[in-house]
């Protein structure tokens, strides 16, 4: 019976992959999967007869319907609450960077350094983008910075596919140390008492190198692909984009703001929400945005409101996803029974498999935590790998293939649409570049955490 349930679970998993690739609504798809992955293992628990299987998985199989439903549909989204709060503060901080003109000034200064040299300017802007997204999170911030940077790339004659890919991968590179994204990942690695088994220090110990690898790959990509034919295009840009590009001018002292929360967190262990708050007030003060108490209250209210609106499209998805994550825990015994003999339990082989199969992190596939990877992680957890090894193993394809390269990522959808790149053209570049990053970083992480 455990094999039958395992096969049904696997079939439903492939069903979700197919559904995601066809462009179905992911939030609803994941919700339906949470229901299937709750009902199937619970039915299996009632029907299994194999005493060895029951003894090996007594805790999971013994769970009552009431506890299972509470675990999946109540505790799951509730447990994600703290992550959501961080996401909202990150989005607020992003809004402050836009409003004070810090982002546009930074971009303008960098453009004025590089001038008409497409490669130099493009590389400098990619580095600035990475720096910004080491703290800032949210589709709103990506769009707000994208409408400034992408037209500059295009006006410099950078091919549109390269422009989109370089920008999106630079955003993704910053995400390797982004505390808001870390919060989302760390929620997958909680102990029995809810304590974090995967700390931010553990995350940055390899994340900073992963960031550098991804930036290096972006630089190589820009150097190689921008040598191709230069393009001069006649087109019109909406004035809102031009205004965003011009923006207000921020003083030099304010330009360190984008990395301030991360620096405070890494060097002084300042909690990230406090870091965002300090960063925001630093920006308001250095940019002389505060003119009185009442005006300041109105301004912060407005920026916070805009930040919350920016996160709105993600909220539903972020709250349904933990249902799916929790339901995958109920399935672990059945996946173990079916795939236990197939999945390698040697760290080197596992790292190589994850490097080779990295593209499965696209389209919400089995190697991304923002898709079916929650189930893969559930299975791997059953083998008893240490979080220090397991977390990077799955976070690498999630950050690179999904967040940086996949056309199911909300802001990448926007970027591809904005520059009129076709999905196929974008994927041809992003898949190769992302795959290279995954291979390098997986091997690096094996050397760092897998050899013990």
């Amino acid at each position: 019976m455990e094999y039958v349930i395992g096969i049904l679970l696997l079939l439903s998993f492939f069903g979700l992959v197919y559904y995601a690739v066809r462009g179905g609504n992911l939030m609803m798809g994941i919700f339906v999967m949470a229901i299937i992955w709750t009902v199937l293992p619970m039915l299996g628990n009632m029907l299994v007869k194999n005493p060895e299987f029951i003894a090996a998985n007594a805790d999971t199989i013994g769970i009552s319907w009431k506890d299972a439903l509470t675990k999946v549909f109540q505790s799951g989204p509730e447990g994600w609450g703290s992550t959501l709060v961080n996401v909202i503060f990150g989005a607020w901080f992003g809004r402050v960077l836009m409003k004070t003109g810090i982002a546009s000034t930074l971009i303008r200064k960098v453009t004025e350094l590089g001038g008409d040299k497409p490669q130099i300017t493009c590389i400098l802007l990619c580095i600035v983008t990475t720096a910004c997204f080491s703290s800032v999170f949210g589709a709103g911030a990506v769009v707000a910075i994208g409408v400034i940077i992408l037209p500059i790339f295009l006006s410099l004659g950078i091919p549109k596919t390269l422009a989109t890919c370089a920008f999106m991968m630079s955003v993704g590179a910053g995400m390797f140390v982004n505390p808001v994204l870390y919060q989302q990942f760390s929620a997958f690695f909680l102990g029995e008492g809810g304590e974090r088994l995967y700390t931010y220090e553990m995350h940055t110990s390899w994340g900073i190198y992963a960031l550098l690898v991804q930036v290096a790959v972006v630089i190589v990509m820009v150097l190689l692909l921008s040598r191709k034919k230069k393009i001069h295009a006649w087109g019109a840009v909406t004035p809102a984009d031009i205004r965003a590009r011009r923006g207000e001018s921020a003083p030099g002292i304010a330009l360190i703001t984008p990395v301030l929360p991360v620096i405070l967190l890494i060097l002084f262990k300042v909690p990230i929400i406090l870091g965002f708050t300090i960063g925001s007030f630093y920006a308001y003060i250095t940019c002389r945005q505060i003119k009185g108490w009442a005006q300041m209250c109105r301004m912060i209210n407005k920026d916070f409101f805009d930040g919350v609106v920016d996160t709105a499209p993600l909220v539903g998805f972020l709250l349904i996803l933990p249902m799916f994550n929790k339901s995958s825990e109920l399935c672990v015994p059945y996946f173990n029974a079916l795939l236990g003999g197939v999945i390698p339990n040697n760290t080197l082989i596992l790292s190589i498999v994850f490097a080779v199969l990295a593209p499965l992190g696209m389209f919400r596939g089995p190697l991304t935590l923002f898709g079916c990877g929650a189930a893969t992680l559930g299975i791997l957890k059953g083998f008893g790998f240490a979080p220090a090894f397991l977390a990077p193993l799955i976070i690498i394809p999630s950050t690179v293939m999904n967040v940086s390269c996949c056309v199911t990522q909300s802001w990448i959808v926007w970027g591809v649409n904005y520059t009129k790149t076709t999905t196929k053209e974008f994927l041809k570049v992003s898949l190769v570049a992302g795959w290279i990053v995954c291979i390098i970083v997986q091997l690096m992480c094996w050397f760092m955490f897998g050899r013990a």
Partner: protein, 261 residues
């Protein structure tokens, strides 16, 4: 996947949209076609990545020089292609076909829609390929018919305007070591370091002047930015119109007595 792309893109764009007043198309066209090349040059500078480095006086000088470059280049190619004979009566499209042939440029028309936040009309891919996006031209034809603007654009071949603009970039590519728009540079770094950069917008201003001269237009082709955008996004086109008028020193405020419809 396309459905998902469109839905997400729409949702993200919605958060970026800014509501603008809507202006009657005829009024916009009349105002825009009355603007001078110098006024459109100010609008063009809004797109210049190095815009912040220049004073108003410098911008004016650059605009004048770029317009002159476009006009002189058009005159010299016209003379060259006609073998010295007066060709002011010859059709622009024939002249442009000759020019494309002379430069070894292949011209292709694409029918794929190119609308969205960043609308493309035409492009020149170095060294020798020009693409005209026909979708915007077809929409423009419809718009002119629907709005009854035929009298304002009598005899204008919009495809030729787009082609002429892109052909200027081909000319620039062929003469990059001696044409003003490629040789004029500005120092970006402080001594002892040096990084001299071209001013990208000069190419665009000159290309517009070149197209205007070769297609014998009475208005700057920059006016088409608004019209071509209008077929995709009326609201954005009205905002663009306001932006151009403001850059030209004619902001559309209550004082001008102009009221949006």
């Amino acid at each position: 996947m396309i459905k998902l792309r469109e839905t997400l893109a729409r949702r993200l764009n919605r958060t970026q949209e800014v509501r603008h007043k809507s202006w009657p198309v005829r009024e916009m066209v009349e105002q825009l076609t009355a603007l001078s090349d110098a006024q459109f040059g100010q609008y063009a500078f809004l797109h210049e990545p190095l815009e912040g480095k220049f004073s108003a006086a410098q911008k004016e000088q650059y605009i004048q020089a770029a317009n002159r470059c476009g006009q002189e280049t058009a005159a010299s190619w016209e003379a060259r292609l006609s073998g010295g004979a007066d060709c002011s009566e010859s059709q622009p499209s024939r002249l442009l076909t000759k020019l494309a042939g002379q430069l070894g440029v292949t011209v292709q028309d694409e029918t794929v829609p190119i609308g969205g936040g960043h609308v493309l009309f035409a492009q020149f891919v170095e060294p020798n390929r020009i693409t005209i996006f026909r979708d915007c031209l077809e929409r423009l034809d419809l718009l002119i018919r629907d709005e009854g603007l035929e009298d304002l654009f009598e005899g204008v071949d919009f495809r030729s305007v787009l082609l002429a603009h892109e052909l200027f970039h081909a000319v620039e590519f062929a003469q990059k070591d001696r044409i003003y728009t490629q040789t004029e540079k500005v120092e970006l770094w402080r001594k002892p370091f040096s990084n001299k950069s071209r001013i990208l917008v000069l190419s665009e201003i000159a290309a517009m002047a070149f197209a205007k001269a070769l297609c014998r237009l009475s208005f700057s082709p920059y006016a088409l930015d608004v019209l071509l955008m209008y077929s995709y996004h009326a609201d954005a086109a009205c905002a663009l119109y306001e932006e151009i008028m403001a850059a030209a020193g004619l902001p559309l405020t209550q004082e001008t007595g102009e009221e949006p419809c």
